[in-house]
Symmetry: C2
Subunit: 254 residues, 2 copies
DNA sequence: TCTCAAATTATTGCATGCATTTAGTGCACG
DNA sequence: CGTGCACTAAATGCATGCAATAATTTGAGA
């Protein structure tokens, strides 16, 4: 029987959740599995391109294939999973080019977030953001994994403050996928350079200069993407450079 | 047995498809049903808020509930369907406020599209856009339904020209949902005022002034949303104004 | 030994069936 | 006559089973 990178998937469990009550108990098992798979993918416990057999997932989560299948279908809509007819589901394996496309969309979305927020943050919200930024700073250099997670989460916090549900959903999606991409192509420590930039963004958002805030955010994301995606080419050895292409070829014949 | 607005759903069928071979035979039945439901929702053959019982859909399409269920789940991710635990699926019934949120996101996305395209269109692409615009003009005032469809399609054509898959997916989604919203809240003829604006956008994209093109696009979308969503308040009678609120209340208790 | 083909195994695609939950109906009681 | 409760009916949530498709192995022939 297949095992979906078994030790990683069920060996450590979700990191931050000590209480089950924290998340409002996923309505259905499908959603629970969907959420779990999403986390596993984002945290790279499921390698990009890895097979995701329905029965293995069902076994792992103690449900039937039906649930696994449905969760995979929905994740496919989100872009984290690729569904090949009669072949099965695979963890999305974005190429460098797809990665750039995703970052392009992300920059646009986050400009919208920034524009909506500039000058409209309540003092409470500013305080919350600064507190979050402090957490980022604390984790920076100490816990690499946590640092990366927080860096992404910061952008989610901003998006949530807009109250725009669709915007929240899209930003959540692109941040997820960017995490995956950064993990695939980013060089180590490429993610936590953003702490100071985040702080500056908070300040400008508070001041209310929308144009400057948007430029700042755009520059921030461009530099994150640049550090991760462009420099990756000269940074890594040839195997990494060829990996995505090799993957494309492989999937064509498998 | 329930019937999912039966006559509309199966009484007329998809409009343009005279041959089944035109679309390369949807990979799976799930996708086929998903696509069909999406069309039915966008074209308002399924009223906003309408129940979508699994077995009725299965019967209608000649498949089992499993397929219907899966399709509904995926449409829920797209935002066209709302899933209520233990209650079933419903056609999304966006409030006016949600409508504005969606238009906000759309404006951001289409600015990205415009920015990517400005000055980078090939002569062939420009020709294709002008031809499309001509079709729009021909339909304008003649065929209301077709006119609305083309107005939305124009933006999809633009998005596809970026070649950015994620951007295409998001624009497709927001255009779908905006169609639904315009159909719900827009006053008649509010959609086909855009023919000239589309033509102007094409010209500026060709010239290559990215900033101006983006402003133009933004203004275009703002005016479409404004015509439809803001004026709706003073235009219609009180029942329409209260409808979304009533819907919210209703769904809370049903 | 290599190649190609047939059979075997594994996995997806889909339908059906059962348990659980919700909505609706009717009857008893106040 | 109105209210509340039990009962019935219906729809969802989920698991299982079977057929079809793809991957793998085996074996025969060159």
């Amino acid at each position: 029987m297949r095992s979906v990178n078994d030790p990683a998937a069920k060996g450590k469990g979700p990191p931050g959740d000590t209480e089950a009550a924290m998340k409002p108990a996923p309505a259905s098992r499908t959603e629970a599995v969907q959420e779990a798979l999403r986390q596993a993918i984002i945290e790279q416990n499921l390698r990009a391109g890895a097979r995701l057999p329905e029965d293995a997932i069902g076994d792992t989560f103690g449900t039937s294939r039906t649930i696994a299948r449905e969760a995979l279908g929905r994740l496919a809509v989100e872009g984290l999973v690729e569904l090949k007819p009669n072949k099965g589901a695979f963890v999305a394996n974005p190429t460098l080019e797809e990665g750039r496309d995703i970052f392009t969309v992300r920059r646009g979305l986050e400009q919208t977030v920034t524009g909506l927020l500039a000058g409209r943050l309540t003092p409470d919200q500013v305080a919350e953001l600064r507190a979050f930024n402090a957490k980022e700073r604390a984790a920076s250099g100490v816990n690499e994994r946590e640092s990366i997670r927080l860096a992404g989460e910061f952008h989610l916090v901003l998006a949530r403050m807009t109250g725009n549900q669709l915007l929240i959903r899209y930003v959540t999606e692109v941040v997820s996928r960017c995490s995956l991409i950064l993990a695939m192509y980013g060089r180590p420590h490429s993610a936590d350079c953003g702490v100071d930039e985040h702080a500056e963004i908070i300040s400008v958002l508070e001041e209310g200069d929308a144009t400057r805030a948007m430029h700042l955010m755009d520059h921030h994301l461009e530099s994150v993407a640049g550090r991760a995606l462009l420099e990756a080419r000269s940074q890594h050895d040839i195997r990494d450079l060829l990996a995505p292409y090799a993957a494309k070829v492989r999937e064509q014949f498998e």
